[in-house]
Symmetry: C2
């Protein structure tokens, strides 16, 4: 198709472009998005139903994210440069001059998400990371906000051109069939997706069944269990109830890190506090009819499951403007009930629904380990200075099932920083070794290449001894290999 | 199955074990393998037909590799620790304390290769990397050397036990069906494979279609093109002819980096030198009947393709001991012929066969880019101080299609070092972002986890401020985020 051909043609020159140029382009895009806020935020409100303050904050996050990746470009440690000096005394025979760096994979296909119309959409994290890495980007617009996608793409393209880059480094495509066609296209080298398990599995299969399979980074759903220890409950039950309901209901629960399960020790007595907090939440529209239909169906399945007790029924109401407006639904079940009816209860409910689970401390860790294969996050609320083998076992079990482990806080709200990890074991990610938020996300769009005995004139700048870009170079001196080879000799 | 259950039970304690303990176990295994050389090398000779010197060297490489990963364990930079200090002034709202490290994925399944009965088999690179990372290992023995596999496993298991670790950190399984059953087992978290494209695609599909798909690292074939520039040919034609034939015929061409194509400029006049060099190569047995059948078939297809001219016919002879013994087959075709008959000629021939391609310099780079999707290596022989746009375009094109780019040497012989990359675009690897040789291979068995606001007592040692293991910690100070957020403010 025309767009993939264009991206493939732009790739070689863009891949080789100096980091300062890529950084300038990313900053130009960041500035342009902020300058267009007066146009983009109302466009996003009109198509998503999200609140102005939330969208303004998200646009700022998106701009900051682009500037952060500009810094990553120029800092250069993302290149992972390793230089092995030639070593005639290497224990396995003379070692050649070996120089390794990470290079961009090629044209990237980014499937935009519905729930972050800026930060996980046209100019979102994957786009920023791919452009920083040196990959031209095709974005498949989310059908929930096509006009916003178009305006954002126009803003980005103009900003790229203003920075002296080809506008076509970002191209927008529309429609599911077009997206799948692009994913099958041999010129696409890597793809990312944030959305439902069903759609994600279909796309992962397409990527895997190509003649030349490509990396596919899918974020497919997460239930984000939260465990409150008896000690935490004794210290601050009210605060926990309020924080939980705020985390469940923010953006109408349409966040990938929304806590889907709250584990409270038996006899917690928090039912009324939770119900009261839920009753205080104002109606919020759902993003689009597809989300509304999915939420309505999941909510009915949960409410209909045996052993489920209502804490807050919540509402689902269609208004005359075509929006479905909701308030939080909270239910309660005990651990045995959850285990028994896991088929009905364990899937993610994308919206403001969460399940409170009354637990027996002796059975908790085993059950949690068994029930939750993989989530973006897991959260523990513990008491001040609490420590015990029980707590350590619980933390270890949750750690093996999550990408981020939160203590005494809530999983919603993801910092965009070097140490962030957004992606845990399947199904929260199809590639738990990578992240979709934070500076490490650039790694998704790179692969290592080693130059062996390359004439200095032909080395790429980051591998040269005079290091013109000033990137970090990790050197293995000659002689070191003898140490590795014969530590006991 | 019993073995995966055992591995899953061992995982939590081994994953948390101190790096010094894992390093000691790896060194114990290395020492034990070298001590058992008098037993293992003859066992390998009997089952593989490889020469004693080659196998002794490979055993040394395998031991060195284990010791190298012991160093990686204790050095700790593989953990990729990043610490973001809490920052109340963060532009996107208060930043929590975030600490990221890489943790082991879980029980690993390693499919042994036939052609490196030590270095890519029971105690090979993937096993060393997985054990270093903290993953128990199941090795599916290659049917080409089952007795050696058994003896190696016994040696490894005894050495693990002698180092105070459970012997079951390494378990051996036999048989294709058992291997596939293990790959489907929910307790296996990651798998690696080195072998044929056909088998690799089947296994990749199994891994992708699990209820919970897992990372699958497959090395599925590589043709390793070598290009000789006219200048290099003018300088050292004889040396190139001899080096090429040595690289094609070593270990009977049964190396994943064997040069499958040699590009020589039209009118090179090297036909006789190549034929003479090939004629001087002694017979060498192929590894097993499956390889022999595959080689015989590929060789017939190549010899039968239109436009192919014989340079050295080579021999394929079955002896009374059940071995198929071969000498090198070299053929010649021009670039147009290769393009026309690519269906017959482009697949890897696993054995001592290579195709010499006469090229027109004006058409070379475009054709090479079109013909070769992905190889482990690509090689350029250039003249002293040669530099031109033509050469740079060629190098850039090869770089995008290989994991390692070699200058003025040969691709066979892979150094085990920090800067090595063994894995290029598909089909040479199903995961070109990772390597199967060198210290970076440990990354295959890890995934990142971020701890948010974790009480100090519950932090894993590498993330603690007092850093008891002394690992490298990359810190982002408070205030830095303001720089990232507002470079222009």
């Amino acid at each position: 198709m025309r767009e993939t051909q264009t991206a493939a043609e732009l790739f070689p020159a863009y891949a080789e472009s100096p980091p300062d140029d890529r950084a300038a382009a990313l900053r130009s895009v960041a500035d342009a998005l902020e300058a267009a806020a007066g146009d983009l935020v109302p466009a996003a409100m009109a198509e998503t139903g999200l609140a102005e303050a939330r969208l303004r904050g998200e646009l700022t996050r998106t701009a900051v994210q682009l500037r952060l990746f500009a810094e990553v470009c120029t800092a250069g440690d993302y290149l992972g440069v390793r230089i092995d000096e030639p070593d005639p005394g290497f224990v396995l025979g003379p070692r050649p001059d070996l120089r390794r760096l990470r290079v961009p994979l090629g044209p990237a296909l980014v499937f935009a998400a519905s729930n972050f119309p800026f930060a996980f959409s046209v100019a979102g994290g994957d786009t920023a990371a791919a452009l920083a890495a040196g990959c031209p980007v095709l974005v498949k617009a989310h059908p929930g906000h096509p006009r916003l996608a178009q305006r954002t793409a126009e803003t980005v393209r103009a900003a790229l051109a203003a920075a002296g880059q080809p506008a076509d480094l970002l191209q927008l495509i529309h429609g599911q069939d077009t997206g799948v066609r692009a994913l099958r296209d041999d010129r696409i080298a890597v793809a990312s997706f944030t959305g439902s398990l069903a759609a994600g599995r279909v796309l992962a299969k397409v990527a895997a069944e190509r003649d030349r399979p490509i990396p596919f980074y899918g974020e497919l759903g997460s239930v984000n269990p939260v465990v409150v220890t008896p000690a935490a409950l004794a210290e601050r039950a009210g605060e926990i109830a309020a924080g939980f309901v705020a985390s469940v209901s923010g953006s109408a629960g349409q966040l990938c890190t929304k806590p889907g399960f709250l584990f409270l020790s038996e006899g917690h007595g928090l039912a009324k506090a939770l119900a009261d907090a839920a009753a205080g939440v104002a109606e919020h529209p759902l993003l689009h009819p597809g989300i509304a239909a999915g939420y309505t169906q999941r909510r009915a399945a949960v409410l209909g499951a045996p052993g489920v007790e209502l804490l807050a029924e919540g509402t689902v109401r269609s208004d005359s403007g075509g929006w479905t407006r909701v308030t939080p639904t909270l239910v309660r079940i005990d651990l045995a009930g959850l285990e028994k009816h896991r088929a009905a209860l364990l899937d993610e409910a994308f919206g403001p629904l969460s399940i409170v689970v009354d637990y027996d401390p002796d059975r908790l860790t085993g059950a949690v380990g068994d029930l939750f294969p993989g989530s973006l996050t897991a959260t523990v609320h513990s008491g001040a200075d609490e420590d015990s083998d029980w707590l350590r076992d619980l933390v270890a079990t949750l750690r093996d099932r999550a990408g981020r482990l939160i203590f005494n806080g809530w999983p919603t709200g993801v910092a965009v920083t070097p140490a962030m990890q957004h992606g845990g074991p399947y199904p929260s990610s199809t590639a738990a070794g990578t992240t979709s938020v934070g500076t490490a996300a650039i790694g998704r769009f790179l692969r290592p290449v080693t130059y062996q005995n390359c004439p200095p004139a032909l080395l790429p700048p980051p591998l040269r001894d005079d290091n013109p870009w000033g990137v970090p170079q990790r050197r293995s001196p000659a002689g070191e290999s003898v140490h590795w080879g014969r530590p006991n000799a």
